[in-house]
Assembly symmetry: C3
Homo-oligomer: 137 residues x 3
């Protein structure tokens, strides 16, 4: 049994947007009792991640770390057609990933208490991002 829905998120530029409730709605719509929910973003310059949902300073600190992992405007980059944040965004996408897979139990996402699902935009300007949620069970 498999069920799939997609939706768009309009990012406001670099930063993270919680999408847990949108994903939870698709999981309930799927009718799958036990299985896996995969949340996938169809782009190579943003990520879908799980991280702490309580203190927003965690997500600010992740930006601080990401700026070291893949800095903007690095003189070593060859790929900069779309600006100083172009290659930095591709690097962060590789590190943080484009999807997460989450267990489904009793027809609901089986997240830990402090886990939220986030679209993490790595580009500095707003983008429309397509998310595909697939539930198998």
């Amino acid at each position: 049994m498999a069920y799939q829905e997609s939706f768009d998120i309009h990012s406001r530029g670099r930063g993270s947007i919680e999408i847990t409730s949108e994903v939870a709605r698709v999981v309930r719509a799927s009718g799958v009792a036990i299985g896996l929910a995969n949340v996938f973003v169809q782009h190579t310059s943003c990520s879908v991640v799980l991280t702490e949902n309580a203190d927003p300073s965690v997500r600010r600190d992740l930006e601080t770390l990401a700026a070291r992992w893949a800095p903007d405007a690095d003189p070593a980059y060859q790929h900069d057609q779309e600006g100083d944040d172009d290659m930095a965004a591709h690097g962060r996408n590789i590190l943080a990933g484009a999807s997460v897979s989450i267990p489904v139990s009793k027809g609901e996402l089986r997240l830990g208490t402090w886990q939220g699902i986030y679209l993490w935009e790595h580009r500095t300007i707003p983008h429309r991002r397509r998310i595909v949620v697939t539930v198998v069970g």
Copy 2:
């Protein structure tokens, strides 16, 4: 067809603990012949990873690298309620991930010869960590 079991691992603080045999047992109990096994941890300050199972120095060197990727007690962090290792643990969780998905063939995990499944604790003090294994096929 989907099957799910969860179990707790008591970490001894920062470091990695092999859980391959526990996951293999769940896969056999599932009765799934061909499919996927997802191993998920319900926390944002530790990881589930695949890495080399032969020479323990690999996992010691991964700690050395992780201390550069997301150092403890970085003065740039805003999030430090739970101590010097709090934000470092969230950063390492983003990089190494909270789950792995592994193919299942003939009712068994289809790992490479040198691949083991590890709970990687990023916090310095011991924690109880909840692992959820889901097998679909």
Copy 3:
């Protein structure tokens, strides 16, 4: 419903090789209309990743970044039996991962326009790498 095939890729040493068409072929052979395709590599010193498929300079710049994330011949490494690139390869495998899971719609991979699937070899000498593709739906 689940379907699985494996194939070998002969890497030419460090660098990335596109495998999108091989994976798409397996997805079509599976007969799965809606579901997930998991692409898994049975090794701990290379990765399977999604990244931009248009400008090859993205993948050159990823090598530049990876050389900072997990440098060759770092004097801090204890694990170096197979050479200066041994531990660097294990570190990059942890960061970039060993598998990707991609939605399947209408019997095809549902990738974004600019997303390609790559085997990313982290070792400097050529290796034969075993890829397992599992499609569930």
